[in-house]
């Protein structure tokens, strides 16, 4: 009886239409088999091949153990229910799932095999990069965050600051750093380092004016606020732009996020002038010399592209770096008891940290030593210059409270993109 009742219930028009239309799909049996089994085969073959590839590679982090690990992570989190509460357990579960999903995607055999040729087609024929690396003109590459900093929203926009989940306003952290250093008798100079689209917009967009430096809309206001807070800063974009227009030489590496040795040297010289102007040095000068060293490297943005046959499309670049050595010919070393400290990110480390692929002994701190003819201390972390370098300084001071004892001036260098994307939480110095 009940079945009849259900059938008698009026079927709504949309469902009736759907049932009628789907019920009249015209498809041959072989076509239906082809379509169904090809789709099923594709979605099943990938995990099967993944499992086979894992079996053939004893070093691989296999899918099955990963699943077991996810289950044990989840179970482990649930046991925390009594002690940590529901929300903490939920957060733990989310983290376990996120990390599982990320690893599955990153270690996928499909990604390994398909992504490089697919990226090559996209880049060579459709002129596009990927989510991290943007294609510029004439073989130049740009980093997405650099582009978004320059072209994106004003970083001091009140709503953006309020809505942000990170500490987005750079001013409080900078003022706090200045105050902490002043208590120790050291001056602070901020060095917001311009990013590639600022100084080479014409290499990204054909219509851009090569004679202009493009900044985020908030940048002038940021400098004004530094000025009104009494914070010393060196904005190197004007002298760099002038150098570019004068020499016609690029200021940035074609395939890398960082500046050329010449651009870095120009800024080091300007910094040295500023430091000499600000500080009466207590210690005598010490001799440093430079030795020209050619380096061939491939840029960090090239690596982000994850493209096959990349060397053919984006060949390695050759630069001449200036290795700094002491009067005894020994390599330059950071001096923790120096009167000047460079707090920086990868713009400080490039040409100094061999891990960045552009040689050693010729970074910003080294060039500063050369121009000042004085030893320089350096605390530099390659990523997250807004926060990591200040945290590293705080850790260094915990380990050695006398670390800033002789310091008269601290140069705080960070990539300008950090103004838009960085975490600017206040880091108290011990």
């Amino acid at each position: 009886m009940n079945t009849r009742t259900v059938v008698e219930t009026p079927i709504p028009e949309r469902e009736a239409q759907a049932l009628r239309e789907v019920g009249t799909t015209r498809i041959g049996p072989w076509t239906a088999i082809l379509l169904s089994f090809a789709v099923l085969g594709t979605i099943s073959a990938v995990p099967l091949f993944q499992a086979l590839a894992d079996l053939r590679n004893p070093a691989a982090d296999r899918l099955a153990p990963r699943l077991v690990r996810l289950a044990s992570d989840a179970a482990g989190t649930v046991t925390l229910l009594r002690t940590s509460g529901f929300l903490a357990v939920n957060r733990g579960l989310q983290d376990a799932v996120d990390s599982f999903e990320t690893r599955v995607e990153e270690e996928s055999i499909l990604r390994d095999r398909i992504l490089p040729p697919a990226q090559r087609v996209l880049t060579d024929f459709l002129g596009v990069g990927n989510e991290q690396a943007y294609l510029g003109r004439e073989g130049w590459l740009f980093y997405r965050e650099d582009f978004e900093h320059v072209a994106g929203r004003a970083f001091l926009d009140v709503e953006a600051l309020e809505d942000s989940e990170r500490s987005a306003d750079p001013l409080p952290a900078i003022r706090e750093l200045q105050a902490e250093l002043a208590r120790r008798g050291a001056a602070l100079v901020i060095l917001p380092t311009p990013v590639k689209p600022t100084l080479h917009p014409e290499r990204f967009a054909a219509r851009a004016n090569p004679r202009a430096a493009l900044h985020n809309r908030s940048y002038p206001e940021f400098l004004d606020r530094l000025r009104s807070s009494g914070v010393e800063f060196l904005d190197p974009s004007a002298p760099l732009l002038e150098a570019k227009l004068r020499s016609g030489e690029p200021l940035f590496l074609r395939s890398d996020t960082h500046w050329t040795p010449e651009a870095m040297d120009l800024v080091a010289r300007a910094l040295a002038d500023r430091a000499n102007h600000l500080v009466a040095w207590n210690r005598p000068r010490r001799e440093f010399r430079r030795r020209e060293t050619p380096v061939v490297g491939s840029g960090d943005i090239t690596a982000m592209l994850k493209m096959s046959h990349i060397e053919r499309r984006f060949p390695s670049e050759r630069v001449v770096t200036s290795r700094v050595v002491g009067s005894d010919g020994r390599s330059w070393r950071s001096s923790p008891d120096a009167e000047l400290l460079v707090l920086g990110d990868s713009f400080t480390n490039v040409y100094s940290d061999p891990g960045l692929g552009w040689g050693a002994g010729a970074g910003l701190a080294e060039q500063l030593s050369f121009h000042l003819q004085r030893p320089v201390d350096r605390v530099a972390v390659n990523a997250g210059g807004a926060l990591s370098s200040r945290q590293a300084l705080a850790r260094a001071l915990e380990g050695d409270p006398a670390r800033l004892g002789a310091t008269r001036i601290v140069v705080y260098q960070f990539a300008a993109r950090e103004l838009s994307t960085g975490d600017w939480q206040v880091v108290p110095l011990p």
Partner: protein, 489 residues
Amino acid sequence: MVFSSHVFVYGFLPIALLGYYLLPRALKHLGLTALSYAFYGWANPAFMVLMLTSTAIDYACGLTIAGAWGRRGKLAPLEPASEGGSRTRKQRVAVTVSIVSNLTLLGVFKYFNFAVDNYNAVVTWLDMPDQALSSALHVVLPLGISFYTFQSMSYSIDVYRGHAPALRNPIDFACYVSMFPQLVAGPIIRFSEIHDQLRQRTHTLEKFSRGAAFVCLGLAKKIILANPCGKIADTTFDAGSVLALDAWYGVTAYAFQIYFDFSAYSDLAIGLGLMLGFVFPKNFDSPYKSASITEFWRRWHISLSTWLRDYLYKPLGGNRRGPRRTYLNLALVMLLGGLWHGAAWNFVAWGALHGLLLALERSRGKRSLFDRLPRGWAIAATFLLVLVSWVFFRAENLQASLTYLAAMFGATGATGAGTSAVLLGGLIYRPYYLLSFAIAAVVAFGAPQTWDWTRRLQPWKAIACLALFWLSLALLTGQSYNPFIYFIF
């Protein structure tokens, strides 16, 4: 879990299909419900508790309305209310409890932050900042809550109205509410549209293969068309300043993004439903081919517009109480439709604009504002109005919407080659984006929609579907997390 993700395509989906077809008939709904909860809880396990709560309340309300709470035996639908069926106080209370509890869930989780922000804005404006509430009081929006609360509510209302029988088996009901293909972003499946399929449905190769075609095309729409158009839109809408031409290009790209993103989700939902034996109604019908706003709303997000029509507009009196009341009802329904999409004033403005246009057309006897133009021009003019309304939908807030509109009409002064606005051109006019945009335009205005195109599947169409499927999967390897736009609604 996102349909266009590695874990879903190569993990969840094969397991779900295998598990579903291996399970005996009596356990299929239990299996499907368990899979759906796993699918939903993947993003945030806590959300499962919320959905379970909503499900339990509506299940109990349904049985109470049917007078079957605590009784055994099969259930028949009530006498339709409109045809003389009377309702007891208990039944009225039960349907009220269902509606109020669902709206409360929606209100708390979707509109609490909006209410706090507005309260704080008012006390700040009144110069009483010490009365402001802490911004630490922040409620996370559960995925798909707007969809499953509406869906769950439709059950109690349909049972109350006598349009469908109540469900005795709680697993069947939980399966209806949580069904993973359409859980997070619709289409909103009304209970009356699906209750008989919950009892009995067929699983045929014909249905399965058409479902597979829907899945291939849905994935292609999302990955090949919606995502690149989304990149263009994101670039222009997130820019510090934008040139007029770029602003138009950006909002048009957004129009394509939201259409292909949302209709892709609907195609995937319909396709996955078909693979599991369910037939879900059409949700899109080439909306940009509309020659009026009234027609647009007959073709866009059909499951929402018909839901609003049947559960809100008609109960408000519809068009039965004179022209003024009709216009008011239309405006109110569209305002609430705007708010349903997002708790922000720009969504209210979007809804208000559509409400105003619908009321204007209603005052002309549902004739298009452009009915004197040839159909092609009327379609273009209607699309232009839709574009302007999308600005409110996409922009971060009301102020940003107005700024963007000003940019579209050249009123922001961003013109020079020396401004950062000029950089955008270096990205958004790349051949890949231009090609995606052009294909999107051709498909939106010239191609039949998935439903019609797959009605007859010759071998060449099957091969085309597979080619698009494999191309999408290849492109997916280079894309990180790319959720569907309607996940946030």
